[in-house]
Structure formats: structure tokens, C-alpha cells
């Protein structure tokens, strides 16, 4: 123990860590009826941690070329000890991370936590969700199987419809006119270098802002939060969060062991697209909406109209702290609350109906 104390004293002397410890000692989390919402940011962070660890393990064997990618993943899941588990956990954890991030985002929005002074936290969180979806989109192609190949072709096709920059964006994403080995190499680069770098920076900012501004107390919960004693962050809240993380780990273990992520068949660029190609579930609401739109709306291409609407919707969502003027004074607009519930209902219903095979 004396060694540890001396080590701490030595570090504190050089780095001035005592104020940080003091900060942690006094950090508190408000206690009220919607305190459960505070756990989802941490849970998303936990799944991100799992992604980093399992991703690094997969990197030991994965080969990012059209000739070897599928075979290397096949090797991982059949020959490498516990390779099946690592790959399955990586795939499931990616999905749970995005699910948890969506829950986190909607709870933040519906509880009004985006309001002043937390605009930057909201914006960095929004960008982090986009990055997470970018991770999902780029990672989906990496096993180079039939489904991922054609889903990437459709996904990049949609990106290519963007006005003005569409053709350039399509070629940038694909590394050519079609999805080829060049696309795979590029997506691999995005997945393991570019996106992690951007995510690290934004995540650091996001966490820093949360520490700086403290936890938000929703409008209707202020009185209860004042009445009840707050939860000390260390060790109470940290232990509670650890229990939630363990719950996430248990769920992950069950999913990975009982529903190992399928590898499918190797992509054949010359084969016709198989029936029922779908993107990952978190893109389904966009995919189905674009499919439902008529070929032309008011003389404009249907897909283009759809993309414009999604961009507009995303922009309104992103700018909610600015557009919802009342939120700056602590009075939330009913319109924005209604918009939040409508967006949630739309996302959930389209995703569930698509998964249930209701759409043609």
C-alpha cells in the first residue's frame, strides 16, 4: 500500500491530479423518476469499448482484399480459437451499441436535455451517432459476402443521388464506378482509421462537456430532484452503471452464443442480386421510405425528394436547440416535443414493419 501511496503522491506532484479526484468525489447524479435515462450514454460507451477490443482482435487475422476478405473471416470463425465468439460479439455489440445510442438520443431529446447550455453536447452526440452509423455501413461490407456486397451497392447508389456532389460522392465511396475490391480497401480504411480517429476526438469532447455541465434535470423533475438526495457518482452511480454494463454483457453473451452472426456466401460481383437485399436494421426506415416513394414527385425524382426530406429532417433534429427558442429559457415547445414522439413512432414502426416483412 505504501508503494501505491508513494506512486500516487509522485504522480500528483508532477501532474496535479488532486483537483480531478476532488471533482470526482463531489460529482453527483440527480435522483428522480427518469434517472434511468442517464445509463444509456454509459451503456453505449461500454459497447464501444467492446467494439474496440474485439475489433483489434479481428484485425489480427482479417485481410481487406476482395480475394481474401471472406476467406479470412471464414478462417476466424472456424479455425481461430474463440474466433467465432469474437466475431459474433463484434457484430452483435455493434448493433446493441447503435440501439443504445438511439435510446440515448431519443431520451435526451424527449427530456429536453439538448437545451441551452448543452447545445454542443447535443451536436457532438448527433455527430457521434452519424459516425456510429458510418461504422455500421463500412463494417457491413468487410466480410465481403453476398448480402453485404449488394446492400453496399444499393447504399452507395442512394448516396450517389445527392444533388451536385452525388457522382463524385459515389466514386469517392466506391473507389471507382462499381463496388469492387477498391471499395473494400477504402471501407476498411474508414472503419479502422478514419472513423475511430474522428470518434475519439468527438467522444472526448462529448464526455468533457458532460463533466463540465453536469447531468441535466428534466423540466418536470426539478422539484423531485431537489427533494431527493442526489446519487454520488463515485462509487454509487459507477457501481449502478457497472451493473447495467454487466446486464449488457450478459445479453451480448446470450446473443453471441445462441445466434452466432452468419457469414453467408462469398460475394460474386457478376451474379444477379439475390432477392430480399436489405441494409442493416438502423437504415431500414430510410430504405423502406425511399422504396415507397413514387418514381416522381412533382416532376422531381422520388428518391431525390426522399433524400431531401431526410436531410431536412436531420437538420431540424440537429438544430433543435436553436429552433426550439423557448428551450433556452427552460420552457420547451410542445411542437418540438410532438416532433420527437412522431420521429420515434416513424422510426420504430418502419423498422419493425420492415423486419416483419410487411413491406413488399
Amino acid at each position: 500500500m505504501r508503494i501505491l501511496e508513494r506512486l500516487w503522491a509522485s504522480l500528483d506532484e508532477r501532474l496535479g491530479l488532486a483537483p480531478l479526484v476532488e471533482f470526482a468525489r463531489h460529482k453527483e447524479v440527480p435522483r428522480h423518476r427518469t434517472s434511468w435515462a442517464y445509463y444509456f450514454g454509459g451503456l453505449t460507451l461500454f459497447f464501444l469499448g467492446i467494439q474496440i477490443v474485439t475489433g483489434i482482435l479481428l484485425l489480427l487475422y482479417y485481410r481487406p482484399t476482395a480475394e481474401a476478405a471472406f476467406e479470412s473471416v471464414q478462417f476466424i470463425v472456424t479455425r481461430v480459437p474463440f474466433g467465432w465468439l469474437v466475431r459474433s460479439i463484434h457484430s452483435w455489440s455493434a448493433n446493441l451499441m447503435i440501439l443504445s445510442a438511439f435510446v440515448h438520443m431519443f431520451s435526451v431529446y424527449l427530456l429536453g436535455a439538448y437545451a441551452k447550455p448543452r447545445e454542443l453536447t447535443w451536436w457532438s452526440g448527433f455527430a457521434l451517432l452519424l459516425l456510429a452509423m458510418g461504422f455500421g455501413f463500412s463494417g457491413y461490407l468487410l466480410p465481403w459476402n453476398e448480402l453485404s456486397f449488394f446492400a453496399t451497392r444499393i447504399g452507395t447508389d442512394i448516396a450517389g443521388k445527392t444533388p451536385l456532389v452525388g457522382p463524385w460522392l459515389l466514386r469517392f465511396l466506391r473507389g471507382g464506378d462499381d463496388v469492387t475490391g477498391a471499395t473494400l480497401t477504402r471501407f476498411f480504411g474508414f472503419h479502422v482509421a478514419l472513423l475511430p480517429m474522428l470518434t475519439s476526438g468527438l467522444l472526448a469532447l462529448h464526455l468533457l462537456l458532460i463533466q463540465k455541465q453536469g447531468m441535466h434535470v428534466p423540466e418536470g423533475e426539478a422539484r423531485e430532484a431537489q427533494r431527493r438526495p442526489p446519487i454520488p457518482f463515485f462509487p454509487n452511480f459507477a457501481l449502478r452503471e457497472a451493473a447495467v454494463w454487466l446486464g449488457g454483457l450478459a445479453l451480448l453473451a446470450v446473443l453471441a452464443a445462441f445466434f452466432p452472426w452468419e457469414l453467408g456466401v462469398k460475394a460474386d460481383p457478376f451474379a444477379p442480386a439475390p432477392a430480399g437485399i436489405k441494409p442493416e436494421w438502423y437504415f431500414l426506415f430510410m430504405f423502406e421510405t425511399l422504396k415507397l416513394l413514387p418514381p416522381h414527385v412533382l416532376g422531381i425524382e422520388g428518391e431525390l425528394v426522399g433524400l431531401a426530406l431526410f436531410t431536412l429532417g436531420g437538420l431540424v433534429w440537429f438544430l433543435a436547440p436553436v429552433l426550439d427558442r423557448g428551450s433556452r429559457r427552460g420552457v420547451r415547445s410542445r411542437l418540438f416535443l410532438l416532433l420527437g414522439w412522431l420521429a420515434l413512432a416513424y422510426l420504430v414502426s418502419f423498422t419493425v414493419l420492415s423486419l416483419a416483412g410487411v413491406f413488399p
Binding site: 470463425v77 454509487n236 457501481l239 451493473a243 450478459a250 452464443a257 445462441f258 457469414l263
Partner: protein
């Protein structure tokens, strides 16, 4: 190959009908439809008997190649006046008698110099073959009910044989032959049952042709010939089947059955497989029991019968081993295991079983036994891989249970700790 003896006969048939190519005036340049006033007039006639041929001729290969109506019917295809167009002095004849059809077609189709200009890739021996066919021989005797060229190819809307709409396209030949051969009352006058086409429709060959769209699957003309249509004789059945089933024929030629069948005039393949209604072969056919094919000649006590029983036993054992391994591998696959290697072994076992089954044609017990040993070895490897997968599944489940218990215990411990701290 046409027997030499019938060639003079074919020559006679053709010569007797004044075989000759059409007059140059009735032809246009090759590959380009020529001026043909017959079509202009006949299209506008009310009587369908007269207008229909002109309408059918729109897609006719002859018309498109520059052969006018007058090429077959005579007359002047450039004359506007019907009397001049249908001038008997220019060889005009209306409906052409069935007996005259082969010679009329042969006028061009048996003339290599003529055919070189219009369709150099078409053989020119159809008429010679036809003359040797059952149809041609009967026609030569004055039987006008038999098929001539137009019965199968059509008269006015003739399409190339490789056009999917043509009545002689592989997938449509059955219907074409059936028009006559499905008529039992007509066929019985020739000593044919009339069930042949219906039987063929039950066969694996018809299934391959129509369900898998395999145009190489045999249809009527592949076994009987097209223009020289004739039933294959007892001695040539194995040659006909062996055209596609080479290995089986070679093995059969090595078997003691070859000479035995020949001595009792038993057709080779047909004796066990039948002719038109050829079903997918089954191991259960082998043996001397009721309904088993070897029992037609052998009894359980004779040498051949004993070999048959052993062949059946080996094949049965091999099939059961594959089925059992396949089921076990499938179970492991359903449980989420990747079983690619086991599937390769099962495929190897299946291939070896196919080779073993082939050996039945040679009635070669020793070789068949050797092949079935390969089947058993590959099936056993697949089985071992399935067993290893099952062990892995058990390990994973145990690991999962242990991990879950540990995680849940940690969660409970944390919950208790938090509660004690906040009490």
C-alpha cells in the same frame, strides 16, 4: 449412317418427283425478302384458307431469305395480274399433295450448291434420311397419313429449328410428335400403342427438359432420329443410350450381361430401365425380390442372384451411412455451426456412391465394394466432424451458462453493495 442399300431407293424417290431447285425468277437475293405479289393479294382475301398462308408467311424463314411463294407453288411472283401470277405454264400448282412434299423440299434442301448460297450450315441429307425412315418408307408405298416435312416443320410459317417457337425446337418436339403418336387409334394401325409420348412425359428426361430447361436432355428425335426416324433395334439400344451415358455403356460392355442379353435378344439398357418412361434409378431395383429388376432373369440361389443381393447390400449400407451423416451434419448446421468441411466430405461420399452405383452396370462386385468403402470413409469423416461440432456446441453452452452465472452473481453483488451503501 444410312445403310447403303437404301440410298438408291432414296435417289429413286427424289428422281421420280422431278427434283429440282426453284426457277431463278422465283428467288430474290439471299438474305433479303423478294417482291412477292402473291402475298399482297392473298392477305386481302376473305377466305381464311387462302389468306392464312400469306399471314403465316410473314415470319417464314424462306420468305425472309428471298424465296417467294412461287419457289414452291410455281407461277410469277412479280405479276400483278392473278391470271399471270398463277399461270400453269410457269409451273403453278395450288395445294401440294403430301406425297410430293419431300421431293419439293429436297429440290433445294438436297442441293448443296443451292443451300450454300442461302444456309450453308444446314446439312443436305435430310431427304435421303427421310427416305430411309419409317415415315418415308410408308409414304413411298402411298400411305399419306405418315409425317412429311410439313407435318413437323409447318408449311407456310416455317421457322429455323433453333427458334424456340419452332415446332421442332427441342422443348416442343414432344408436342409435335404427339400430334400423331398420341393418337392411339391411328397408331394401333401401325402396331404402335400410342402411349409412348404419355410414358415419355413421366420420364427423368422430360423432367430435365421441361423443369430444368436442359435442352441437351433427350427428346423423341435424340433416340429415334429426326429425318430418319425409326425405332432403335434391340442391338442398337445401348448405342443410343450410350451417346450420353458413356460410362454406363462402357461398364455394361464389360459385364457378363452383354453377351447374355444379346443371346436372348434382350435390349441392353431397356431391359432394366424401360424405354419411354425412364424413371430415376433406385437402389431398391437391385435384387431378385418382387419388383426388382434382376429377378427377371435370376433367382436368389443362382450366382447372379447372389451377386445382386450383395450389390444391393453394399449400396444400401453406403446410402444409409450418407443419410445418417447428412442428418447429423444438418443438425450441427441448424445449431449455428459452420460445417463446410463436413459438407465437402459428404459430397465426396456422394460422388463415390455415384461411382459405386455405376459399377452395377458391370455387375462388378469387387469394384463396387471398393467404391462403397470410399463412401463409408468419407461419411465417417463427416460424422466425426459433426461429432466435434456437437462437442463444441456443448462447450459453448456450458461456457455461456458459467459466464452468465458469473455475470449475474456480479450484478447481484453490485446491487447488494449499492443498497447497503445507500441504506
Amino acid at each position: 449412317m444410312i445403310p447403303r442399300a437404301v440410298l438408291p431407293l432414296a435417289g429413286l424417290v427424289l428422281a421420280a418427283t422431278g427434283l429440282s431447285a426453284p426457277r431463278p425468277a422465283t428467288l430474290g437475293p439471299p438474305g433479303k425478302a423478294a417482291v412477292d405479289t402473291c402475298l399482297d393479294c392473298h392477305r386481302s382475301l376473305d377466305e381464311s384458307r387462302l389468306s392464312q398462308p400469306a399471314e403465316q408467311a410473314a415470319a417464314d424463314i424462306h420468305r425472309l431469305q428471298g424465296i417467294t411463294c412461287a419457289g414452291c407453288h410455281g407461277g410469277d411472283p412479280t405479276a400483278e395480274d392473278p391470271e399471270a401470277a398463277m399461270n400453269p405454264a410457269l409451273g403453278f400448282q395450288g395445294a401440294i399433295a403430301p406425297t410430293a412434299v419431300p421431293a419439293l423440299c429436297a429440290g433445294c434442301h438436297s442441293n448443296p450448291a443451292f443451300m450454300l448460297r442461302y444456309a450453308p450450315n444446314i446439312p443436305t441429307d435430310q431427304a435421303a434420311q427421310y427416305a430411309t425412315s419409317r415415315h418415308g418408307l410408308a409414304l413411298a408405298k402411298g400411305d399419306t397419313r405418315v409425317a412429311t416435312c410439313t407435318s413437323c416443320h409447318g408449311a407456310h410459317g416455317v421457322l429455323p429449328a433453333d427458334d424456340a417457337r419452332s415446332p421442332v425446337y427441342p422443348s416442343r418436339i414432344v408436342e409435335t410428335c404427339e400430334r400423331c403418336h398420341g393418337d392411339a387409334s391411328l397408331m394401333q394401325t401401325y402396331g404402335i400403342s400410342g402411349r409412348e409420348v404419355a410414358d415419355y412425359r413421366q420420364s427423368v428426361h422430360y423432367a430435365a427438359l421441361t423443369q430444368k430447361n436442359d435442352l441437351s436432355a433427350p427428346t423423341c428425335n435424340d433416340c429415334h432420329g429426326s429425318h430418319g426416324a425409326t425405332p432403335p433395334g434391340v442391338s442398337s439400344v445401348s448405342n443410343v443410350c450410350g451417346t450420353c451415358h458413356l460410362t454406363q455403356r462402357e461398364l455394361f460392355d464389360l459385364s457378363p450381361h452383354k453377351e447374355a442379353f444379346a443371346s436372348i435378344e434382350q435390349p441392353a439398357c431397356e431391359a432394366c430401365h424401360g424405354n419411354h418412361a425412364i424413371h430415376a434409378p433406385d437402389d431398391a431395383w437391385i435384387g431378385v425380390g418382387e419388383g426388382q429388376v434382376c429377378g427377371s432373369c435370376h433367382v436368389a440361389e443362382d450366382g447372379g442372384g447372389q451377386v445382386a443381393v450383395q450389390l444391393a447390400a453394399h449400396l444400401g449400407g453406403a446410402s444409409r451411412a450418407i443419410a445418417a451423416s447428412r442428418e447429423r451434419v444438418a443438425r450441427a448446421e441448424r445449431a449455428g455451426m459452420l460445417m463446410d468441411e463436413a459438407l465437402v466430405q459428404l459430397e465426396e461420399a456422394h460422388q463415390a456412391l455415384v461411382l459405386a452405383r455405376n459399377q452395377v452396370h458391370a455387375a462388378a462386385l469387387a469394384t463396387l465394394e471398393e467404391e462403397t468403402r470410399r463412401v463409408l470413409a468419407a461419411a465417417s469423416k463427416a460424422d466425426q466432424l459433426a461429432a466435434a461440432a456437437e462437442a463444441e456446441i456443448r462447450f459453448r453452452r456450458t461456457g455461456l451458462v458459467v459466464s452468465l452465472v458469473a455475470i449475474l452473481a456480479a450484478m447481484v453483488a453490485l446491487a447488494l453493495k449499492v443498497r447497503s451503501m445507500e441504506r
